[in-house]
């Protein structure tokens, strides 16, 4: 009992002490970057794709930089909590956001008074497609068959997504527009999205690849197409929408972003560590297992990519009546 008590006392002492020490370390004078632990802020909760992938990357970056890169989850409001936190952090490279397509969706739906360009970006790390899938025993064997069925009964087929305004919703809108299908977009939620397809409530869904790969392997769902740049290595037999003659393309990317005004030298060091970590064995193994594509993109190229993706997001959102900028 006394040992247990000692352990508990020590543990709490450490917890309390670190709560005080951490901010001190973080705000210390910036001599040669990196001079202290780096906060790696993950915009989504523990256990999800963003968390698992982010934690491996942070660990590998820590090996390269020689300082702890500490993953911290700050979930909430579709990523807006993390983005606001990092945007308001000191521009010294000690706080980095594990940003993603959500940096474009949250800023365009009107919940935060800034755009994606309120940050300095380090670069892209990876991307993954968002497959379009139907139930394993559904009558639609191809995307064309689905389009034909939809045209026969417009406004009745239902396509599930993770939530309104999310990347999956936008991809679904883009794909349905491309195949000329008037569908009901069902904001089923991350936890219910797959279930609505299996129960037959939805006729189809758009999900991130990592969220659909298990069901596809078990043949519970059939992936008809991917509104993506190119075929994915995990499901090489699934055609892209473009191959089938439909112009819809939206991928889910993950990247690193820091507060605006971070010195160029710091950003260059982070970018180097990011690329090395992205190509590390641990990270490539994870990519192979979960199906995302590692494709590091340095800042210049990434800025252009972001601009292009943002234009896509805004276009789809405006068409669907979701766009609502609060930017001043």
């Amino acid at each position: 009992m006394t040992t247990l008590k000692t352990i508990l006392t020590n543990a709490t002492a450490i917890a309390v002490a670190s709560a005080f020490v951490f901010p001190v370390l973080l705000s210390g004078p910036a001599k040669a970057f990196p001079d202290g632990p780096i906060e790696f802020v993950i915009p989504f909760g523990a256990g999800g794709g963003a968390d698992i992938e982010g934690r491996v990357l942070a660990k590998e970056m820590s090996k390269v930089l020689g300082v702890p890169v500490v993953p911290i989850n700050k979930p909430g409001a579709g990523g807006a909590v993390t983005y606001t936190y990092v945007k308001n952090s000191k521009p010294n490279g000690n706080t980095i956001a594990w940003s993603s397509t959500s940096i474009l969706t949250t800023t365009n739906i009107g919940n935060v008074p800034y755009g994606y360009d309120a940050f300095d970006h380090i670069g892209r790390v990876e991307y993954q497609p968002m497959p379009f899938a139907v139930k394993g025993d559904a009558p639609y064997k191809t995307l064309k068959a689905f389009a034909a069925a939809c045209k026969k009964a417009p406004g009745t087929l239902k396509v599930a997504n993770s939530s309104a305004g999310s990347a999956t919703h936008l991809a679904a809108i883009a794909l349905m527009d491309a195949i000329g299908c008037k569908a009901i977009h069902l904001p089923a939620g991350v936890t219910r999205r797959n279930a609505t397809v299996l129960s037959g409530e939805s006729n189809a869904m758009i999900a991130p690849l990592t969220g659909a790969v298990n069901l596809a392997k078990a043949k519970k769902i059939r992936v008809l197409a991917m509104p993506s740049e190119k075929r994915n290595a995990v499901m090489p037999n699934v055609p892209t929408a473009k191959e089938l003659g439909f112009d819809a393309e939206l991928d889910l990317f993950r990247s690193l972003s820091v507060a605006k005004g971070t010195p160029i030298g710091v950003k260059a060091k982070l970018a180097g560590a990011m690329t090395a970590a992205a190509n590390s064995k641990a990270f490539t193994d994870l990519a192979e297992k979960n199906g995302f594509t590692i494709a590091p993109m340095q800042v210049g190229q990434f800025e252009a990519y972001l601009k292009q993706e943002n234009a896509k997001v805004v276009k789809i959102m405006k068409a669907a009546g979701l766009y609502q900028s609060k930017m001043k």
Partner: protein
């Protein structure tokens, strides 16, 4: 045999998992024993410490705590006549008289054994029913789920509330709080005053820490302390004799069945199951006159019932994502923190994990029996721990816990704010459990309602044409009517001077 079942079994039986379960059991016995610390608050306090563990380890530890908390509660009920947890209240009726007769050891032994039998019965229910129910639940559409959640909300009002009006009010406040933050369907801001912290909404675990733990902390400040002399008495033999076990056969069967069944119903929980089974066991007993004067059957029935509630309550939690009692509500939160969504899909996408949970529950019951029987004499010394040492530690864990959920200091203020609400509710005699259920179920209720209406293009008839939905709505109607009848009966009983 299904490979997932084997994998779940082997995962739950790994040495490290067994260790986590055993630690949970030990903590649960201690938490359960200390009067004023409920199992819910114990789990809330330990929860943030489990965030760093793998999901299967953390759930193994929490299940251990849940199961053994029920048993620990009976120790103080028997020895001090103060139930360590509300679920052990019925145990005190016959346990304390037995302890006064110098048969404390026998009373504790029966309580532990009956709890084990009840727990194992509910394990069988969980193992056999949960996968089947998940299969059925997979067919549910949003409309069915809305009606099911609605049914869950009506049940709390008929059971958990002493006064129907106060219970309803408490539930509605909980539902209103859930609307703060991001609209779950459209993603737009609601009642946030432009604050990005409020935009992420009120995490129900943060609210629960405040609602449950703070009033207890404040209550203990004004507590003059209880006599712990009973904890130091001589127990005599603890292991129950074979003849004794035969005598409690009937009451254990009654307690186990009632406990497991009531556990499945959302929001009922241990205390009610314990009292109802006590009542039935008395009616079915050959010696009902012994009840209240130290009857072993009077201990066996409620103790088997409150342990059977645990397995029962896990059934709707795992298959539907709907909690059977306050503790499972917190367990849902714990799973979500680890990115695992309880619900029918858990049995398809992560069947190995789902079975791992079921078998961890099995081990929790085994360890509960072993640790409680072997460590009893040591454990009851905890009852003599001064509160002055205990309470500051709990306060610290409340702060760490609410911070660690989302690494946000804003949540610590939210926790303190809910502490004030909890204190006010205590003063007003308003039950907290309906609010808790409102907080836990509110978001689901809204999401299912809106998805169902999106799907039907705004046609309300969807709730009445689906057979599942119709069934749940009819059950809701019955439970509301029953609540009014029970309230009326209670009032007329009171006016006749009969205790309810």
């Amino acid at each position: 045999m299904n490979p997932d079942i084997l994998q779940g079994l082997s995962q739950a039986s790994l040495p490290i998992n067994l260790l986590a379960t055993a630690i949970g059991v030990l903590l649960g016995l201690i938490v359960g024993m200390i009067p004023g610390l409920t199992i819910s608050s114990g789990i809330i306090i330990v929860l943030p410490l489990t965030f760093v563990l793998e999901p299967d380890l953390s759930i193994a530890l929490l299940l251990g705590l849940y199961v053994s908390g029920m048993t620990g509660g009976s120790f103080s009920a028997i020895l001090l006549n103060i139930p360590g947890t509300p679920s052990a209240s019925a145990t005190a009726i016959d346990g304390y008289p037995m302890a006064q007769r110098g048969e404390a050891g026998q009373a504790l032994g029966i309580s532990i054994t009956a709890g084990f039998l009840g727990g194992m019965f509910s394990f069988l229910c969980l193992y056999l029913i949960a996968p089947l129910l998940a299969e059925v639940a997979l067919q549910f559409h949003a409309a069915d789920l809305f009606s099911l959640v609605f049914f869950g909300l009506t049940i709390i009002c008929s059971f958990a509330a002493k006064s129907l009006v106060k219970g309803l009010l408490s539930a509605i406040i909980g539902l209103l709080i859930v609307t703060v933050g991001q609209d779950p369907v459209m993603g737009t801001a609601r009642y946030t005053f432009g604050d990005v912290n409020i935009l992420s909404g009120i995490h129900f675990l943060t609210a629960l820490i405040g609602l449950f733990a703070i009033p207890q902390l404040v209550g203990s400040l004004t507590d003059t302390g209880v006599s712990t002399a009973g904890a130091r008495q001589h127990f005599g033999s603890i292991l129950p004799k074979w003849e004794t076990l035969k005598k409690i056969r009937r009451s254990v069967s009654i307690g186990s069945s009632i406990g497991a069944f009531l556990g499945i119903l959302p929001g009922v929980g241990g205390p009610i199951a314990a009292f109802i089974s006590y009542d039935y066991a008395k009616k079915a007993s050959k010696k009902p006159e012994d009840f209240g004067h130290g009857s072993i059957e009077g201990i066996a029935a409620p103790e088997s019932a409150n342990n059977a509630v645990t397995g029962g309550a896990l059934i709707p939690m795992m298959t539907l994502g709907i909690p059977g009692d306050p503790v499972t509500a917190i367990l849902i939160g714990a799973l979500l923190v680890h990115g695992l969504a309880p619900g029918p899909l858990l049995f398809i996408e992560r069947a190995d994990f789902a079975y791992g949970v079921i078998f961890s529950f099995f081990w929790a019951n085994i360890f509960n029996l072993i640790i409680a029987l072997s460590g009893l004499r040591m454990l009851v010394k905890v009852l003599a721990t001064p509160k002055a040492m205990l309470m500051p530690a709990i306060a610290l864990f409340c702060v760490i816990g609410s911070y660690a959920l989302r690494n946000s200091f804003f949540d610590v203020y939210v926790m303190l704010f809910f502490g004030l609400i909890g204190l006010a509710m205590k003063k007003l005699n308003m039950p907290v459990v309906p609010m808790l259920l409102g907080l836990v179920l509110g978001k689901q209720l809204e999401e299912h309602l809106r998805v169902a209406l999106t799907s039907s293009k705004g046609d309300i008839s969807i709730f009445f044409t689906s057979p599942f939905s119709l069934l749940f709505l009819s059950l809701s109607a019955i439970s509301i009517v029953w609540a009014f009848v029970a309230e009326h009966r209670k009032k007329s009983n009171l006016s006749k001077g009969v205790a309810p």
